[in-house]
Assembly symmetry: C3
Homo-oligomer: 239 residues x 3
């Protein structure tokens, strides 16, 4: 991902990611490392500006583009690994959770922190977290919108290993891909989809309902007020 400063996911960047995933599939790619050009952030998650003072059709397109990208990422036939050498809140965490393996560096925060912002993480975000860290830890983390630090993320199984720095992180991600390289492609892909099918299907059959929840949510005046306050706090930080 290379959308400075923090790889926040707007409609355009989601479309870029989606096209990249399709291209990799068509090119019979043997593995993908999802990484960031930022020195400190993996991805800041959904671009909240797409939700501020929304227009109906643009907001709907944003959400459907996110769904499309995720349906593709979560079901790639090739191995995927997240090299998390920077913070990964909310949608950034979703990207990491959707890969097959996660390597992280020290001093990073990762989690679905939507609750802290007064937002409810979509069901499929929550499903991804539950699939990785289990029912109990997912309930505890999602109720509180908890951001895990590196040690906590490893301990709870949210990531698979810790590497000392960005270079080591990429090297370990490559090692994961190497470990998958000689596996028979068809069997590998079939097993992966078998595991992920119920989570994928849940979104696919409930796409319209999921979009509707998002739209109704962001069009609430108090939600808009919350987003406004949040954007103001961001601009103060950067000012």
């Amino acid at each position: 991902m290379n959308r400075p400063p923090v790889n926040s996911l707007n409609t355009e960047h989601l479309e870029q990611l989606h096209r990249a995933l399709v291209r990799l599939e068509n090119e019979k790619c043997r593995g993908m490392i999802l990484s960031s050009s930022s020195p400190t952030v993996f991805s800041a998650g959904l671009d909240i500006r797409e939700m501020y003072k929304p227009e109906l059709e643009k907001a709907r397109k944003f959400w459907r583009t996110l769904q499309d990208m995720w349906l593709k990422l979560y079901s790639t036939p090739y191995p995927t690994v997240a090299a998390i050498h920077g913070h990964a809140p909310a949608g950034g965490c979703l990207l990491a959770l959707s890969c097959e393996y996660r390597v992280i560096v020290p001093n990073v925060k990762i989690g679905l922190n939507e609750t802290q912002l007064g937002i409810v993480a979509p069901q499929w975000f929550q499903d991804c977290m539950r699939n990785v860290i289990g029912e109990r830890q997912a309930e505890k983390a999602l109720i509180a919108g908890h951001m895990f630090n590196t040690e906590q993320a490893l301990q709870v199984g949210l990531v698979d290993e810790v590497a000392a720095d960005k270079a080591a992180c990429i090297a370990r991600a490559e090692a994961f891909l190497a470990s998958q390289a000689n596996l028979p492609l068809l069997a590998r892909k079939t097993v992966k989809l078998g595991f992920r099918n119920s989570t994928l299907s849940r979104l696919m059959t409930g796409r319209e309902a999921d979009t509707k929840i998002f739209i109704e949510y962001i069009f609430q005046p108090k939600v808009q007020k919350g987003i406004e306050l949040y954007l103001q706090s961001l601009s103060k930080k950067s000012g």
Copy 2:
């Protein structure tokens, strides 16, 4: 809970708990610590005397009161934490499992030990255990009616932390509530119910069947014989 000597749950005490939960909800309570007035017991669980030589209507009322109380406890909009500074077998363990967080003291035993008594823990008791410690550990513990000691309970994730004594236990429970205090209420509650909804629904849609299983079970002569022997062993212990 304050029903000496061991907070056993009879119809009256369950009604008291239920009323307290409703009152806390109406008063927009920001958090509840479930604790015990006993120095050694959190709650001894269901009052087995309510099952001994039962009358049909009283037995049905007992079970429905238990269901009502639990449906309320498991779905509170406010944060709940169990301060387990005493033993918590069977129904006592259910109460602890139904909170959002559990702090325990050393030298305590906790578990769904129904199997040891020849009773099958109701499905929703089992669901609560599975939701907290996962499928494998729940199967192993419930088949054997295992009572975990403090170290085992922590290790398996049945409790979240250990505190040195009752005062420290309450203090840590308060710290949990403090950690939840600034979270947006609506988002927090929505996420919690999202996680707990399938377990709640399973009982709600199967209430009559669940009650029938209980009634048919306790009206079996051999079950009555087992309860009689158990009550005799209790009176010997206290004698």
Copy 3:
């Protein structure tokens, strides 16, 4: 199991196991240790020769015999424990996973390694693994067809304990059975079936479809080619 050299599971051996399980049930057996006569192998899994150059009716019978044996093993009313003092790939791992408790010795490999062979582990094999080690670890292991060594198997919860050698392994298996011996039979059995019912039902209602998947799979020319290469590599090893 005593089918030298490696307890591979052909139709005949599966029938023997099935008959033994039925007999133990009829004799009101109080517990079973599943063990191997081999010094180095628990069970090598399904006998791949049953899948090589198959005849339709024989292949169907093989698969239905495997299903029958497993439905019986997974649902025994008496406690079961696997004493894994030798390697347990694929179907050998399934046998171990289907017991209620697992003791292993050092320097053993265990896992559902079907993916490595270009085969997709049947859904119920995968369900058994998921029930024991959870969604995340099962996904990771099954995608890669990972063979766990003893330390990994303990760490991930695939086995319950490690014993120093075969004698200690059998002794610990006996200790598990002793721990279950005084539990009320009916309650114990009811809880066990309650946990395992959804996994059992999934195969029972989908038996024909499961058989069809197996048959269509092994009748593919490229699968036959893969089996042929594998058998050649085996005969080279032993040659």
